[in-house]
Structure formats: structure tokens, C-alpha cells
């Protein structure tokens, strides 16, 4: 019988280090840090205790009329995951308005929130996302709105059309 092998991939996990988009970990600016901590610690609204949605029934969602929807992904945390997800949106011509990502689970996985256009093709977007190896779960967050993302970037307060210099 072969002996079990120790986990071959050592994972660094310094606090508040983002592994997703760069080969070398980059420290998240401290202003955003607090917000990210808030999200991961649940200070911002956590997902309602619902079972993960079937990916087939998005069009019934009430937030559909609002123009945008929020998807929550649980993904493997390693360099390249962000490229896989943003690349999917780019090459399939889907809209991706905003993105937030924080490491969770001791850094083994990340939680990602995507602000996407609520269009009929959203169902296809979700199915394509679900096919990515690094994407573990996809679910809909009807409780979150686009404003949520603007709270994370103080200089963007006011949203599209707002004062670019309007730092609160």
C-alpha cells in the first residue's frame, strides 16, 4: 500500500495577501483591507442561508429587472484563477461590471462577488463559470446590489456619472 503523500503544494497564507491576479503576492491597500476584512468576517451581509441555487432558474429572480445581478463564487485560491474568470467574461462577450475577491478558508479558497449585467445570457454565464475547474460553486446573491461594490471604493462613491474627485 502506498503511503499517503503530504500535501504537495505548500500554500503561503499571509494575512490580506491577494494571490489571484499576480504571480507574486501583492498586499492589498490598507484602506480596502478593512472592508475586505469586514466582508470575510461577515460584517457586510452574509449570504442568506439558502441552499445553492440551481443554475437553471436565474430568470425568475426579482433583481433581474434592476439591470445588474450579483454572483457569488467560491474558487480555488491560486495565481491564475482571476485570469480564468475574467478571461471567460472577455472571450464570451459577457459584461463584468465589478469584482471583489477575498481569501477564505485559510487561503485555500477565495470568495468572489461579481457584478454582472442581468441579461438573458446570464444563465449561460453561470453555466460556463461552473465549468471552470477553479470554480467550486456559483450562486446568486439577490440580496446584494451594485451599490455594495461602490462602498468598497471610496473614490468611486456616486457610481457611474458621479464626481470622480468626490472622495467622501
Amino acid at each position: 500500500m502506498p503511503d499517503p503523500i503530504p500535501s504537495p503544494i505548500p500554500r503561503e497564507n499571509p494575512e490580506m495577501v491577494c494571490h489571484l491576479s499576480n504571480d507574486k503576492p501583492s498586499v492589498v491597500p490598507s484602506g480596502i483591507c478593512q472592508l475586505l476584512v469586514d466582508i470575510s468576517s461577515g460584517a457586510l451581509p452574509a449570504a442568506p442561508a439558502e441552499k445553492p441555487r440551481s443554475i437553471c432558474h436565474l430568470s425568475n429572480d426579482k433583481s433581474f429587472e434592476a439591470g445588474t445581478s450579483v454572483l457569488e463564487l467560491r474558487v480555488r485560491n491560486h495565481p491564475g484563477t482571476m485570469s480564468h474568470i475574467t478571461g471567460l467574461f472577455a472571450r464570451r462577450g459577457f459584461n463584468l461590471e465589478a469584482i471583489v475577491c477575498v481569501p477564505v478558508d485559510d487561503g485555500a479558497t477565495s470568495c468572489m462577488l461579481l457584478l454582472v449585467a442581468a441579461e438573458p445570457r446570464l444563465e449561460q454565464v453561470e453555466r460556463q463559470l461552473a465549468k471552470l475547474y477553479d470554480v467550486l460553486t456559483v450562486r446568486h446573491r439577490p440580496d446584494l446590489r451594485g451599490e455594495f461594490f461602490y462602498q468598497l471604493v471610496p473614490s468611486a462613491a456616486g457610481g457611474i456619472g458621479g464626481d470622480p474627485n468626490g472622495v467622501p
Binding site: D3, P10, K131
Partner: protein, 570 residues
């Protein structure tokens, strides 16, 4: 046990059952080539990395198992990309391994550095950049598992040179990667499809390459016979059903026989199995099968409803679904519908000059090949008119005996894929038939895109015959310019066409050119019977077009047909 990353990679591939790898060495992959020295793995040295990618594809398309291609960093990796993208679109299991510059150099614009991870990301099912030799223990089996599971596809593994050189401790070996079984499709959906099939009056089965990937050809045939449903196939599914079967209607879409597309207009239930409603098959999507309810069986949930809304989507393994469907379905006789299909088939034959008059008409050539070659002969094609003539007129009698670049439409596919197929026949247990002829049907445009692999072929001395349908044109380009661009021919004609027979001889391969006046079909037969590789240059008429043709973007019922020929016959 201390072991280098390069040796670890080699051992993991050996444990995976890999016997042949096609590739080209270079600086960043040399440690791995050193590890291959003395290995049981046979390395096939190609003359261009794209050739290596398509040789691996040829092996994979014949066996259904993931095959491996190998290249160095930078240009080696970029040259592989086309073959990887091709495998992605045709769902071919492939593991592409590339060397990368040492991690200390990544990001410095080092010699032969390119972002292989970034470049392969959009054209693979998944990709890896290995950062530590120990990761190989996880990555290599996982790469094969991903390549072969569910909907097959290519996986890329980029291995920096320092990872190949570094050592790691191996305490135990992982199990080789193997396909993960899929969750079964729920019974209720099968029952719903049974109800649909029972009430339908004019059902049609629309089969795609997924039927072959699932090994479900016999089951699809059984379903067609059980419910008396005519069968249309995509290019990728040719071979699923014998062409002489009364229910077989041939390929659908842009270059289908007219009767096939007309039949789809009359269908009231379309059961798509392992097909993805590609635009070449559907024509104008909004007008595809206008009267049909669509049921879609696919291993990939994202395909259901991607192009055309399906009334019923069944996600799972096609073989499993068809087995369980057949358990539930009583025989259904639809004599009128069968008769209608037969009528459409006989009243809309391909029109072309008879063999006695024009033996080298491409349709006659393809039919002649069908008479000459045993049913298990593997035929590869390149891309263009010759590919469509093969699809229309060559009788593909078994699954996995027509290898063609369907989704990406890559000119240059045929020759290396044929070499890969012959390699699989010469080395894979259960397939071993080293003398079995493999025929690559190509065009004078396509063949030049990977002509250098004739050197590889000469070295391997495999029984590959290359037939070049030679019209000194990019024929399908010229055809489109003739039909849709007011005969303004631009960049479609070659003024310098090589003497392909002499070119073959220059590579050390038998070469001949058929003379239309001197028993060309007899000469062709003799050339194919003689052992070893050969190149046969077949002059065809410069103006020959592939008919019928649906103009790009038009509905499938709007077909341009062959202009009336005095001597045309069925």
C-alpha cells in the same frame, strides 16, 4: 526518495500509460528530454510544434485517450497553440507539456519567454503553471483526469526549467488520472423524452461528435431504429451510422444534401445528442428546424440552450442515457415518415459528372476511395473543399475513422493527424495493425501548411498515403468569391504550385501525379496498395465547387445547387 522534477514528470507519464510523445526540444525543456533518455516512452521528433500537437491529436482521436505533445518555451509554446485550440473546439483529450524559463527569469522578458499560461488559458479546458516539482504529483494525474472526464479537451502544463531540475521527495505515487464518472441523468427527464418520442410524428436524431466520444454509436443507431427516426450527423459524427443505412440522411447544414436539410424543416421533434448547434450545421439559427421541439442530450450542461432553447435538456453520459432510454422505449413504426426520408434522399442526390466521363471529379474520387479502402481505414482530411467532398461522398463506416478539424477548421491538420493515427495503430494495444493504411485527403493549399511533417513521416516510414486534391486554388475561398463576392477573385489562386510528387521524393517518400488521360483510378489503386508512405497528386478541375451550399448566415433551406450539367447523374 529524492527525484528531479524532470524524472518525476517522466515517471508520472509512464505510469499514466503514455507510450508515445510527439514534440520538439529546446532550451527550457531540455531537462525533461534528458529524463526521457532511456525511457520506454517513444519520442517522435516533428519538424514544427504544430505538427507535434496534431500528431498527438491523431493518436487521441483514434484511441479516445489523452495523448501528449511537448514543446519548449516561447516559440515552441506559441507554435502549439493552434493544435491546442483545435482540440478544444473538437473536444479532443490532449495534454500539452511546455518548458518555461526558470522562475527567477519569469517576467523579465528572458530569452524564449512567453506567458504560456496566459496564452493557453482561453484555449484549454484547464491549464497549470507548475511552481514546485512536488506539484507534479498532483498536476499530472489531474491533467489527464480533466482532459478525459466529461466533455474531453486539452489541458496545458507549463513547467519552468528550475522546476524540472529541482529535486523533491516522493513518498508514494499517485494513481494515474482517469475519467471521473458523471452523475446520472434523472429518470424523470428520460421519461419526459420517452413521452416526447412517443407522441412525435416526425422525429429526427441530430448526432454530433459527442456520440463518438461517449462510445455510443451503436446505441444511437439502436435508438434510431427503435423509434424509426431518420438520423442527421454533424461533420464530427460521420461514422456513427453506416452510410447505407435506410435511416441515415448524411451530414446536415451548409454542405448537406438538399433532402437532409428539407427533412429537418419537416421534423416535429429534434433529438440532439452530443451536438452543439454549430452555425455550419444550423444555418440561420432562428429558422433551424422551425417546427421542431428540441430535446438535447449532452455531457456539457452549458451546451443545453446555448444556441437554441431546448424544451428538454438531459445532461449526462450519452451512452448511459441512451441505454436507459432504450430500456423504456417500445418500438415505434413510422412507415410514412421513413418513406418520406427515403424519398427526400433519393430525389436530392449529389449531382456530378459520371465516373466514366470525369474519373477525377472529387465526388467520384471520394466514392472510389470508399470502394477501394477497407471499412476500418482511417481517413484524415485538411480543411477546404476536399474536406466537404469527403464528408459528402466518402462512406465513413465506423466511428473514429474520419479525423477532421471541424470546429477550428485548421488547414494543416491532415498530415500530422494521419501520422498520429498511424502511430496509434502501430503501437496501441488492442488497435495494433501496423500495416493498416491511413489516408490523408488534402488540398494543395492545406498540405503546404504542414508539409514539413513529410520528413517526420519519412523517418517513421508509416503507411500514410497523402492524396492532394490539386486545383491550384484556395478552393473554398475561390468558391465563396465566385458565389458571394461578384467573382472578384482575390488571393485565391496560386501561380506557383510545387511539383508535389517531386517534393515527396525530395523528402524520401514515394510520389506520383495522376494523369487524367491514363487510367488515373487504376494508378491511384496501385499506389494505395503498395506499402509505405506515399504522396499522390491528383489534378482536379479548377472550377469545381462544393454543392449544395447554404450561403453563410442563410437558413438551411436556401441552398445553392449545382448548375445543371448535361451529364450530371446521381
Amino acid at each position: 526518495m529524492k527525484i528531479t522534477g524532470a524524472n518525476l514528470l517522466r515517471i508520472l507519464l509512464e505510469r499514466q500509460g503514455i507510450r508515445t510523445i510527439a514534440g520538439i526540444p529546446g532550451g527550457a525543456i531540455l531537462p525533461f528530454y534528458d529524463a526521457l533518455h532511456g525511457s520506454a516512452i517513444r519520442h517522435v521528433l516533428t519538424r514544427h510544434e504544430q505538427g507535434a500537437g496534431f500528431i498527438a491529436q491523431g493518436m487521441a482521436r483514434v484511441t479516445g485517450k489523452a495523448a501528449v505533445c511537448l514543446a519548449t518555451s516561447g516559440p515552441g509554446a506559441t507554435n502549439l497553440l493552434t493544435a491546442i485550440a483545435d482540440a478544444r473546439l473538437d473536444s479532443v483529450p490532449l495534454v500539452a507539456i511546455t518548458g518555461q524559463v526558470a522562475q527567477s527569469l519569469i517576467g523579465t522578458d528572458a530569452f524564449q519567454e512567453v506567458d504560456t499560461y496566459g496564452l493557453t488559458l482561453p484555449v484549454t479546458k484547464h491549464n497549470f503553471l507548475v511552481r514546485h516539482p512536488a506539484e507534479l504529483l498532483e498536476v499530472v494525474p489531474l491533467a489527464f483526469q480533466l482532459a478525459e472526464s466529461g466533455r474531453p479537451g486539452p489541458v496545458a502544463i507549463d513547467v519552468p526549467k528550475d522546476v524540472q531540475n529541482a529535486t523533491t521527495d516522493v513518498i508514494a505515487w499517485p494513481e494515474p488520472g482517469s475519467p471521473v464518472p458523471l452523475p446520472p441523468c434523472p429518470d424523470e427527464q428520460l421519461d419526459a423524452l420517452v413521452r416526447q418520442l412517443t407522441v412525435a410524428r416526425h422525429p429526427v436524431l441530430y448526432l454530433g461528435g459527442g456520440v463518438i466520444a461517449a462510445g455510443a454509436a451503436d446505441l444511437a443507431q439502436a435508438l434510431a431504429r427503435r423509434v424509426s427516426a431518420p438520423v442527421v450527423c454533424t461533420l464530427m459524427a460521420l461514422g456513427v451510422m453506416p452510410p447505407d443505412d435506410p435511416l441515415f440522411m448524411g451530414m446536415l447544414g451548409m454542405h448537406a444534401a438538399q433532402g437532409t436539410n428539407f427533412l429537418l424543416e419537416e421534423a416535429d421533434l429534434l433529438v440532439a445528442i452530443g451536438a452543439r448547434f454549430d452555425d455550419r450545421a444550423t444555418g440561420k439559427v432562428a429558422e433551424f428546424c422551425p417546427h421542431a421541439t428540441i430535446a438535447h442530450i449532452d455531457v456539457d450542461a452549458a451546451e443545453i440552450g446555448k444556441i437554441k432553447p431546448a424544451f428538454l435538456g438531459l445532461v449526462g453520459d450519452a451512452a448511459d442515457i441512451l441505454c436507459r432510454l432504450l430500456d423504456r422505449l417500445p418500438p415505434q413504426h413510422r412507415p410514412a415518415w421513413r418513406a418520406r426520408a427515403a424519398e427526400l434522399r433519393t430525389t436530392h442526390p449529389l449531382r456530378h459528372a459520371p465516373r466514366t466521363e470525369d474519373p477525377l471529379h472529387p465526388i467520384n474520387l471520394c466514392r472510389f476511395l470508399g470502394e477501394l479502402l477497407p471499412p476500418d481505414t482511417i481517413v484524415t482530411t485538411d480543411v477546404g473543399q476536399h474536406q466537404m467532398w469527403v464528408a459528402q461522398a466518402y462512406p465513413v463506416r465506423r466511428p473514429r475513422t474520419l479525423l477532421t478539424s471541424g470546429g477550428l477548421g485548421t488547414m494543416g491538420f491532415g498530415l500530422p493527424a494521419a501520422i498520429g493515427a498511424a502511430l496509434a495503430l502501430s503501437s496501441v494495444e488492442g488497435l495494433a495493425a501496423p500495416d493498416r493504411r491511413v489516408v490523408c485527403v488534402s488540398g494543395d493549399g492545406s498540405i503546404l501548411m504542414n508539409i514539413q511533417e513529410l520528413a517526420t513521416l519519412a523517418e517513421l516510414d508509416l503507411p500514410v498515403a497523402v492524396l492532394i486534391f490539386n486545383n491550384a486554388q484556395l478552393g473554398l475561398v475561390r468558391q465563396q468569391q465566385e458565389l458571394f463576392y461578384g467573382r472578384r477573385y482575390e488571393a485565391a489562386h496560386f501561380t506557383a504550385v510545387p511539383d508535389f510528387a517531386a517534393l515527396a521524393r525530395a523528402f524520401g517518400i514515394r510520389g506520383l501525379r495522376l494523369d487524367p488521360e491514363r487510367d488515373p483510378l487504376d494508378r491511384l489503386a496501385e499506389a494505395l496498395v503498395a506499402p509505405g508512405p506515399c504522396v499522390i497528386d491528383v489534378p482536379i478541375h479548377e472550377q469545381a465547387n462544393v454543392y449544395p451550399m447554404v450561403p453563410p448566415g442563410a437558413a438551411n433551406r436556401h441552398m445553392i445547387s449545382e448548375p445543371e450539367l448535361a451529364s450530371a447523374h446521381a
